[in-house]
């Protein structure tokens, strides 16, 4: 048959445990196959095994991968000629020293056309994903927002018009408009019928809107109600948890992002931050966390003035405010086990003893729906969704009054995302945890008490 056919695929981990067992899948040209399943069931591993790019520690011990009816031998050459791949993590997927345009030009070299033709195609590919090549073409990855980086990576995967398109969470960081563009683009390719597509996504609407067939991996986990970690005693004050006034922020290259913005968040309140890609949502959160320089503005946290750079903050301020970042790949130290990441804040900020911290770390893992043996594992042995939940557990460890959450459900399947949001709801009721969440996910925004929209200024939709 034409297209991709995989049979009997089995991948084992370092200890010999099967990560993927005897999996069959196929996708013909003109077809879109979606892989879905809960976080940690080996979806990304399947994609990597198919492309023969498994990371060290994982080994394919059985299985046959056929392309257009012949078993694959020279996989490197095949990948270069026929495959467009978009990895899971938008900000790590791009080479840090290549501009957006150079990144998209790179796969076009295999076509062997003239420079001008390739350049025009790269510009077209960027425009197709809704990015202005004039404005963004010369930017380096760290000057792009998460959503923009993901779209550059998508443009790169699509640029050479590959016969096989492999997409791992291609839409996790996209706002609705960009999502629409990306889905339309993939649908157009499907209609042209020349290429096969393999897609992993947690977004049910993307899968429903695109996939001809769906392969489910793993069993859905038993839906136990989330158990809240033990309440950390904290002095409560009346009034807002955080009040910010006259906030001015700049992009790293100096262009202004926000002027004279203000916001106030009450205890237990859930505020969603929406806005197009690149408008400064993540920057706002990072600035509040003291990790991005602030041009102007003042803030009070629990009634105390809040200093801007994180280094100047007192222990109560550090405890009260915690951030979960957007990039699950770099969120955890590769050299330290999960337990170390969780116990350190417990010991440092809450002053727990070694034993108490270990017990509390297990409770935190259970609260975010991870098995207890995760504590002993290293980040390289965790999937994107599992890492994201570890990062969330780490942020909750100090018992914050305000959680700054940047796309915390982007790497999670619908069931797990639901569970995480339920946990936040529970903490909001029991401990008056306030949440300021940047999101593209409508189901997250639907749970919010109110929505902040960011353009050059901020508007506040009361509900």
């Amino acid at each position: 048959m034409s297209g991709l056919a995989v049979s009997g695929l089995t991948v084992v981990g370092p200890a010999g445990a099967a990560v993927v067992r005897d999996l069959d899948l196929s996708t013909a040209r003109g077809e879109v196959l979606a892989l879905v399943g809960p976080s940690g069931t080996g979806k990304t591993t399947v994609l990597r095994a198919v492309l023969d790019v498994l990371p060290p520690g994982l080994t394919r011990i059985a299985g046959r991968v056929e392309w257009d009816g012949a078993e694959l031998r020279a996989t490197r050459r095949w990948r270069r000629r026929h495959v467009g791949y978009l990895g899971q993590d938008p900000s790590s997927a791009l080479h840090p020293l290549l501009t957006a345009r150079a990144a998209v030009l790179e796969p076009l070299r295999v076509l062997g056309r003239s420079r001008a033709v390739r350049r025009a195609r790269a510009e077209q590919a960027l425009a197709d994903v809704g990015l202005d090549p004039e404005e963004l073409g010369e930017r380096l990855p760290h000057q792009l927002s998460g959503g923009q980086a993901q779209r550059v990576a998508l443009a790169r995967a699509l640029a050479a018009d590959p016969d096989l398109l492999v997409l791992d969470e291609p839409t996790s960081a996209l706002d609705p408009e960009a999502l629409e563009t990306a889905v339309a683009l993939i649908r157009r390719r499907r209609a042209e019928g020349r290429s096969a597509t393999l897609i992993v996504s947690h977004d049910g609407s993307v899968v429903a809107g695109l996939a001809d067939r769906v392969v489910r991996l793993g069993m859905p986990p038993a839906a136990a109600p989330p158990a809240a970690p033990r309440a950390a005693t904290r002095a409560r004050t009346a009034g807002p948890v955080l009040a910010v006034g006259g906030l001015g922020l700049d992009r790293p290259d100096g262009a202004p992002l926000l002027d004279d913005a203000g916001l106030a968040i009450a205890p237990g309140e859930f505020v969603a931050v929406l806005g197009p890609s690149g408008c400064g949502k993540s920057t706002l959160l990072r600035a509040l966390a003291g990790l991005h320089p602030v041009r102007a503005g003042t803030a009070t946290l629990l009634g105390e003035p809040l200093r801007w750079p994180v280094r100047g903050r007192s222990v109560p301020a550090l405890r009260a405010l915690s951030l979960v970042g957007q990039d699950p790949l770099a969120a955890l130290n590769p050299a330290r086990p999960v337990s170390a990441a969780l116990r350190r804040p417990l010991r440092l900020l809450r002053g727990l003893s070694r034993r108490e911290a270990a017990a509390e770390a297990d409770r935190l893992l259970a609260a975010v729906g991870l098995p207890a043996d995760t504590a002993r594992r290293y980040p390289s042995a965790l999937s994107g969704g599992q890492r994201q939940r570890v990062a969330l557990a780490r942020a909750l460890a100090a018992g914050p009054a305000l959680l700054l959450a940047d796309e915390i459900t982007a790497a999670l399947d619908a069931g797990t995302a639901e569970r995480v949001l339920d946990l936040l709801d529970l903490l909001r009721q029991k401990e008056e945890l306030a949440v300021l969440a940047v999101t593209h996910d409508k189901t997250v925004a639907a749970r919010a008490d109110r929505v902040l929209r960011i353009g050059r200024s901020m508007t506040d939709d009361r509900r």
């Binding site: 966390a289 550090l318 405010l321 951030l323 699950p328 969120a331 130290n333 590769p334 330290r336 990441a341």
Partner: protein, 260 residues
């Protein structure tokens, strides 16, 4: 399967290092005593023949690696730790002093290494010259690499999380940044060690090594080169020992680099 191969390389390389350091105990015969005619070929009781003064080549090879290896270890350790510490600081701090340190290390990289080593060897004794040469030639490279890695690590989630729980700079560097780059540091240490072995061998061949009756691989090359037609083993054995030492160190550093 991978684990056993790593173990094999580690044991083999560790064995070579141990032999280089403690081989004298196995020699069985004093390496400085004349026992045969100059450049006598191999025979019973003389597995590798005799050298320029009729001394046992095997005994001299077994004894001749210790000072060289110890010197190289000290030199590599000094160069690597100075470079790593400097790199962590220069990559982390945004102050003027850190920028000056980077500029100084770039300046040192421009100086030809052998010139620096020759200057050092005429002013201080041989082993100190090897250390000085390795530090001047190697530490700036380590500093550059480590400073760049540290500067990049500043923006990772785990460093920001550490800052957000109020860790101090030193604590972030030693608890988060350094462990995350353990492989890099190990590989770098191996590189400096190879450099130190080469530098040490070069200076000893030129006659700046231990004084004559002492056995030394590099000095043996020079002493026995005129007699290579009579007893090739007197030159080949120390040369092989030098190559084996450098290879073992490179293998060890490869393992360390692959660990992370």
């Amino acid at each position: 399967m991978r684990v056993s191969r790593v173990l094999l390389v580690a044991v083999a390389a560790g064995g070579v290092l141990a032999l280089a350091l403690g081989g004298e105990a196995l020699a069985g015969r004093e390496p400085t005593r004349t026992v045969a005619a100059p450049w006598a070929v191999a025979g019973p009781g003389l597995p590798l023949g005799a050298d320029v003064l009729g001394r046992d080549v095997l005994a001299r090879v077994l004894a001749g690696g210790r000072d060289l290896t110890l010197g190289a270890l000290a030199a590599a350790g000094a160069a690597s730790s100075l470079g790593v510490a400097g790199g962590l600081w220069a990559g982390w701090s945004r102050g003027r002093a850190a920028r000056a340190a980077r500029a100084l290390s770039d300046l040192l990289l421009v100086l030809p290494l052998l010139l620096v080593a020759m200057l050092a060897v005429v002013t201080v004794p041989g082993p100190a010259a090897v250390i000085a040469g390795t530090v001047f030639g190697g530490a700036p490279l380590t500093l550059r690499v480590m400073a760049d890695a540290t500067a990049q690590a500043r923006h990772t989630g785990y460093v920001e999380a550490a800052l957000s729980r109020g860790e101090r700079g030193l604590s972030v560097l030693f608890r988060e940044v350094l462990p995350a780059h353990a492989g890099l540091v190990g590989a770098d240490l191996g590189q400096r060690m190879v450099l130190a072995v080469q530098l040490s061998a070069a200076l000893n061949v030129l006659g700046f090594g231990p004084p004559p009756p002492e056995a030394d691989w590099a000095a043996m090359l020079r002493e026995n080169l005129p007699g290579i037609g009579l007893n090739p083993a007197a030159v080949l054995a120390p040369a092989a020992a030098l190559a084996l030492l450098a290879g073992s160190v490179a293998g060890l550093s490869h393992i360390l680099a692959g660990r992370s």
